[in-house]
Each structure stands twice: as C-alpha cells, then as structure tokens.
Amino acid sequence: MNVEELRVHRELEKEKVFKDDFVHVKVVVENTGKNSFDFLEIRDYYNPELFRLVLGENFISTRIGPKGLIKFSYVLEPKVRGEYPLGPLSITVKDRLGFNSEERIVPDSVSDILVYPPYEDIKKIEILGSKRSLQLNYGLQRSKQKGLGSEFYGMRKYVFGDQFRLIDWKASARTQQLIVKEYESERDITVMIVIDSSNSMAGGAIENTKFEYAIRAGMLLTKVALTRRDSVGVFTFSDKKNMQFLKPGKGEDHFYQVLDFVAKIKPEGKNRIVEGMDYFIRRFQKRSLIFYISDLESPIKEIGQGIRKLVPFNHSIIIINPFSPWFEIHEIDLSTTDKALAEAISEEMMEHILKVKQDIRNLGINIVTVGPDDMMTQVLGTYMEAKKKGKAF
C-alpha cells in the first residue's frame, strides 16, 4: 500500500459565499498507481461550529482500482461570517482484513472560505425595489425627484401614474410602447460607515451579536448608497492593533470590496474611540455623512472626546446605537433573579446612553438607539432622511 500513489484534492464551487448561501465541495481521489487500494477512507474535515453539513457526506469508504478515479461531494452552509479554513483532507488506507492501516493528512489540503454577511436583507430590499411600480418602493431605487432634476438618468417603460411630459415620444414610437425618461436631481455624497469592532460588540448569541447586526446594517447601507451613486467607505476600529480602513468608492465592484473587507473583521480589543478617531481623521478628511455604529459602552468622556475630533471637518454624524441588553438576551428561560438583573442592567445602560446624548447634544449629533428588530429599518430610514435633508452635500 503506497499512499503516495493517491492524489486527493478538493474542488470548491466558490471561495466566497454569503452566510445564507450554500457551497458545493467536491473531493476528487485519483489512484495513479498500478495497484488497487482495497479499503480507502477519505474524510474532509470542517469545523462544525462554523459550517453546517446540509447535503451529502464529508467522508467516503470505498475501494479504488488501479488508475481509478472517485469523486464525492457535499454541500455546506456557513454559519458565521468571516474567513475560515476548510480541511484538511485525510486518507486512511487499510488492507482487506483491516489488520494494517495507514492514515495520512493530504498536504496543502486546506482551503480558505470567505463568508460574507447574509444577503437576506439586501434581497428583501431588492424585491421591494422590483415592486416599485406597485408603489412599494423602499429605498433601493434612487428616489429621484422627477422633473426637478436636469441630469438624465435613463429610460424605462411607462407605468400608471407617470407624468405625460416625461414620455419620450421618439423612443415610444420606435419601440411601439410608452417609454419615459428619468432625471436625477440628487447630488452624490460620501457615506462613511464607522463600525465599533471592540469585543463588547460580540455580546449575545454567536450568530446574532451586535457586531453581526452592525455588519449587516453596514452592508445594507452600502448597497443602498451605492445604488444611489454615493461613495461609500468603511472604517472599523477598536484599539491600536485593530483599525481597518477602506477608502470610499463607487459602483458594483466596490460593493464586493466592502463585502471582502467586512467579512474578515472580527470583534476584538477594547474600544479606544479617541485613538480610533485620530486614525480616521488622518486617513480621511472630506466632508461626509458618517454612520457610527457602536454600543457606546466606553466611558462617556471618551465618547465625547472621540466624536468631537470629527466636528472640525464638518461631517454629518449619525450614531446608530445597538442597545446592548436587547441584543444580549437570547435565553428564553430566565429565572426571576436573572430577569431582575436584566431589568437593572438595561436601566443602567439606558441611563448611560442618555448621559452620552446629553454630553454631545450641543454638537447636533443624532443618536439612534436600535434593537435587533428595527436596526435595519432605522439605519435605512435615517440615511433616507439625511439624503432628503441634503446633509453632507
């Protein structure tokens, strides 16, 4: 039994996948030798905390003849956003009677999979966007003020309710159906999404932490803002070691850059907002609409200092504050003591946030405290309102 004669490799359908998507993993085993392997066991390891096996099996027991080829596959569902290894592959070869066996780990058989945040929220918005003609539009399409703008945006089919003066008669005659012209009147702005990546954001159930919600909200905001032709940049920070900056950009490609960027970030370190903002203003000064997503669990003084560092640059700042107790209660069966404790903590947290609000109220900064149920709608709503008010133009 010469295991070296076996060639085993893994074929991934895709190396980048959304959290709520699936990935097809194929394992190919080839016997390059002239002898058969009477008993062969191939196992492709994956971390069950990070992936869920939804179809097929990640191992096989079989035999392989000389110059034979075997393929088996399985489907995994990523559980958590991030960049994770898949593998290694292990081969166990036994003789017919199982007296002698040899196990080998296939060298270089670890593949990395980048798991993006779930696409679910964006999909919902896209579906709503596609129902625009039914007046169910919610944000994804550019909310143009038709007729007021002067910049030509595009053409589309006429739908009931469109103004007649927008009909392009030439195009309508050519296509034998009513076509209207669309104009845009908005100015593009730069949206900076600043996310607190300190370890306090990792509280709660592993798949639904404040940080995961923050990433989802950031992704949704990016998608909507990019669709509206705004530039979007991302900055995540906790302490000195954990500061990541993605400069603002536009277009569909940039959306995937943002996805790649946020997929790799893990919540770790303490929140050093002052140092974080120092770094941010060194990298970026242009006037912009800043969404700062944080649980605000730092001392009030530090938060004030950090935010004040942004003020001289004339940014429009919106603080999205995931209210910690609402995210961190994931156990249903709480005892009376636990309930009382939870009530006390939430009261205390509320007092803290009110004090932060008090501290920065003269800066004209809005703090939007959100829970897991309304975070996405609040973030989008705030963005839409900011755009309507012409902030950060």
């Binding site: 390891y45 780990i105 249903i332």
Partner: protein, 482 residues
C-alpha cells in the same frame, strides 16, 4: 449489482459450510457422542445423573439431620429416651417410609455409609455424559452461528462456527494425548481411558509422501475447507464493509434529494402561512408595539416590564423562526440543488457518491485472486511444514545423517520449520510498520503547519493535547523569565 454479488458470495459460503460438515462427519463418528456405552441417549443419561446426585445429597442430608437431632435429644433426655431405639426408629422410618419420596437408581434404598460412593459414581457418570454432551453442544453452536452469519455478516460468527467444529476434534485429541503421556509414566486413569474417542483412526495417518494424497486426506481437506470458509467469510465482510457505506449513502441521499425536490416546490405557501399565523398571534397578545426602544426610553404613560415583554416576544418568535427557517432553508436548498444540477452535470452522482461505489466485477475478480493466492500459499506451506524432509534435503542440503535419522519422524522436527514460518509474518509486519511510522514522522515534521491547521479545525486533534502543550510552553516561558 454489488448487492447480488454479495448474496451470491453468501450462498457459496453456506454451501462450503455444508461441505465442511460433510467432511467433518466423515472423520467424526457422531454416534459415539450421541449415545452412552449403555446405549442410552447421552442427554437423558446426563439429566438422570444430575437427578441422582441431588437425590442422594438430599436423602443423605435429611438422614444426617434426623440422626443429629436424635443424638441431641437422647443426650439431653437420656433418662427418658432410649438412644438405640431412636436410631433404629429413624433408620426404619427412612428406609420404609421416607424412601417412597425418592427414586433411587437401582430401586433399593442405600445405607447412609453407601451414599458417598454412590454420589462419586454418579459424578463420574455426570462428567462422562457431560463430555459427550459437550460435542453435541459444540455441533449445535456451530450450526446456529453458521445460520446467524448467513443472515447477518459477521466474521466472528464464522470463526465460532468453525472453531466449534475444530474444538470437537481437538478435545478427544487432548485426552488421547494425555493418556499417552500418562502411559509413558506407567500411570493410567481408568476414567480417562474409558472416554469414547469419536475420531476416525485415519486421522492419525496423514499421507505426507504424495502431495495429492496429502490433499485428499480428510483431515487436510477439512483444514483446507475450514480455511476456505473463513477466508470467504472475511471476503464477504470486506465486500460488505467496502460497499455498504456507498450503497447506504447513495440510497439515503437519493431519498433526501427526492424529498427536497418535492417539498421545496410548495413550501413557499407554508412560509407565508406560518408568518401570517405568527403575526396574528402577536397582535392577539398585543406584543410588538410595546417593545420598541423609543417606548422603553420614553417611560412615560405606562410602565411595562421590558424583560417580560421581550421574553414573551422571543418565545413567539422562536417558534415562528424555527418553522420559517426550516421551511425557507428547504426552499433555498431545493433551488440551490436545482441550479447545481444544471451547472454541474456530475453533481448528482458525486453527492450520492453513486459513481464511487466499487464495481461488482472488480470485486469478484480481486476476491477470487486473493482467495486463490492465499489458498495455494497455505497448502504449500502446510505441506512443507508437515513434510520437511524434502525441504531439508533440497533447500538446506542437509546430509543424509540428519535427514534419514529417526528424529526426522518425530513431531518435534515440524517445529524446526513451523516456528520460522510462523514468525516471519509478524516480524516482516513489524519492520514494515516501523519504517512507515518513521517516514510518516519525518514527513509530518516537514509539514509542520498541519498540526496548527488541525488545531484550528478542532475536530481532529484532542483539545487536551493542545492545552497540555500550551501549559508546557507557558511554564517554559515563565522559567525563562525567572
């Protein structure tokens, strides 16, 4: 196809077992162990001997207790009771009245002093019968395990089936050998010499000069068939072990995919229905509006327990979420699989691993070749071991003074070849294992990253090992600092 192949193999093995039994019965006289020397059925005689032993024990026990009581009573009440009268009364009572409750072997009630001899006699009958019944039991065990292994593959059962038959040959040989050993010291145990020997006398004379006669002799034939049976049993086990996972996986996955295909089409309606139901329940319980952040922060008109509301909401959501998640996942997976099949034409085969199941033809060929090679090697080695003369003359070129000596005809000479041949396999195996292990360690050292990766995967390396390693490293670091 593989399933049929497996069934055919099992039928062949069952036929081999029948052949084995026939050959076995040709050298084993079953009548010898079925009946006692008195012509009584051994099982009945065995039961009788047990019954007689207990009869004597109980009778003697009662007798001794009665005598003991009489002795105590006459000692205490000496002036009033005559001791001789009491003893003769008890003797008369036991022999004339109580004996009616017992059935003694020869119909007469024994005296108390005769009973130990009678018990010993019955015990010797008991062991004699037990010896005979042992063969019957072994034969029944052999048949039962052969049937069991036919119904459910398990080489252990095959080993027991053959082992029981082999034991039926070995046991008389052991006693016969022991008797011969005792003869050397001019000692004889009558009981052992009286034990019946059910083995055919031809067993002692294996024709070793002629290879074909050697093969045709019943003992060698029995050994070869036994080996063939065991070998085929292991081949069946191998075939099942190597094919069953693939077949089961294939069946299981095909069913799963079929269900997924049918379920995912009409699950959308179910998802909407579940959501609607959950929404109406939330409205009924007036949960949802209250649990907004603004309400909580405002704390104005009505005081409400935020945690209580949250938990109520979560409970409802949890139920809904489970159903919706399961339904939506099924739907998404169904769509995904449909797309996968369109984009990757071999996906269905790889998911079910249908293509990776071993083929019946290749299995049959390899099984046949394996059995043939091993059988031929086994026969040749057996012949060499049993008949070392040719080997010693032609391979080792030993002088006639040795090869023609009387020692050559002694059984001990067999050990001369048997031991090296027996030891060659484990020694070679150990050497191969050692070399492979060393090579593996060298390779793993070269691929130092593997362990780190395995650690991160967490499924392969024991966490305790890692903790221990980390603890050792910490200690080392501390020592270095101090």
């Amino acid at each position: 196809m593989v399933r049929y192949y497996l069934k055919i193999l099992k039928i062949i093995n069952a036929l081999i077992f029948v052949w084995l039994i026939l050959v076995f019965l040709s050298i084993f006289d079953f009548n010898e162990v079925l009946f006692t020397s008195d012509g009584e059925f051994a099982l009945f005689s065995f039961i009788d001997s047990i019954k007689n032993i207990f009869t004597f024990i109980i009778f003697a026990g009662a007798y001794i207790i009665a005598i003991g009581c009489a002795f105590i009573a006459t000692t205490v009440f000496l002036p009033f009771i005559n001791r001789d009268f009491m003893f003769s009364f008890i003797d008369g009572f036991f022999k004339n009245f109580l004996n009616l409750w017992f059935t003694f072997p020869d119909g007469t009630t024994p005296d108390l002093n005769q009973i130990p001899d009678l018990i010993l006699n019955e015990i010797s009958i008991f062991f004699g019968d037990f010896y005979l019944i042992l063969f019957q039991l072994l034969f029944v065990i052999s048949i039962i395990y052969a049937i069991r292994t036919f119904l459910k593959t398990n080489p252990k059962h095959d080993l027991i089936a053959v082992g029981a038959l082999v034991l039926m040959i070995i046991v008389p040989l052991i006693f016969s050998g022991f008797n011969e050993l005792l003869d050397l010291f001019h000692v004889s145990i009558e009981y052992l010499e009286d034990l019946p020997n059910p083995l055919d006398p031809s067993l002692n004379s294996i024709p070793i000069d002629n290879f074909f006669l050697f093969l045709a002799s019943p003992v060698i034939l029995l050994a070869i068939i036994s080996y063939l049976y065991i070998e085929l049993a292991f081949q069946i086990n191998y075939t099942e072990t190597v094919t069953r996972p693939s077949l089961e996986r294939s069946d299981r996955l095909e069913i799963q995919l079929e269900i997924l295909k049918s379920e995912s089409h009409y699950i959308t309606a179910n998802v909407e229905k579940i959501k609607e139901e959950a929404k109406s329940r939330m409205e009924e319980l007036e949960i949802g509006e209250k649990t907004t952040i603004s309400k909580f922060f405002a704390k104005t008109s009505e005081k409400f327990s935020y945690i209580k509301e949250m938990i109520e909401k979560r409970k409802l959501e949890e139920e809904e979420k489970k159903l919706v998640t399961a339904a939506s996942k099924t739907r998404r997976l169904g769509r995904y699989v449909e797309r996968l099949y369109r984009e990757d034409i071999e996906a269905q085969d790889t998911l079910t691993a249908r293509s990776s199941a071993p083929r019946a033809q290749s299995l049959a060929l390899s099984t046949f070749l394996n059995i043939l090679i091993r059988l031929v090697v086994l026969i040749i080695i057996s012949f060499i071991i049993i008949h070392p003369k040719w080997f010693l003359e032609d391979v080792f070129n030993l002088p006639p003074a040795i090869t023609e000596s009387v020692v050559m005809f002694s059984p001990e000479i067999i050990l001369l070849l048997l031991l090296p041949i027996m030891l060659i396999f484990p020694i070679v195996s150990k050497i191969v294992s050692f070399i492979k292990h060393r090579n593996l360690i060298i390779r793993l050292q070269q691929e130092g990253r593997i362990k780190e990766i395995l650690t991160s995967v967490g499924d392969y390396v024991k966490k305790e090992d890692i903790k221990e390693k980390e603890a050792k490293e910490e200690v080392k670091a501390e020592e270095a600092v101090t």
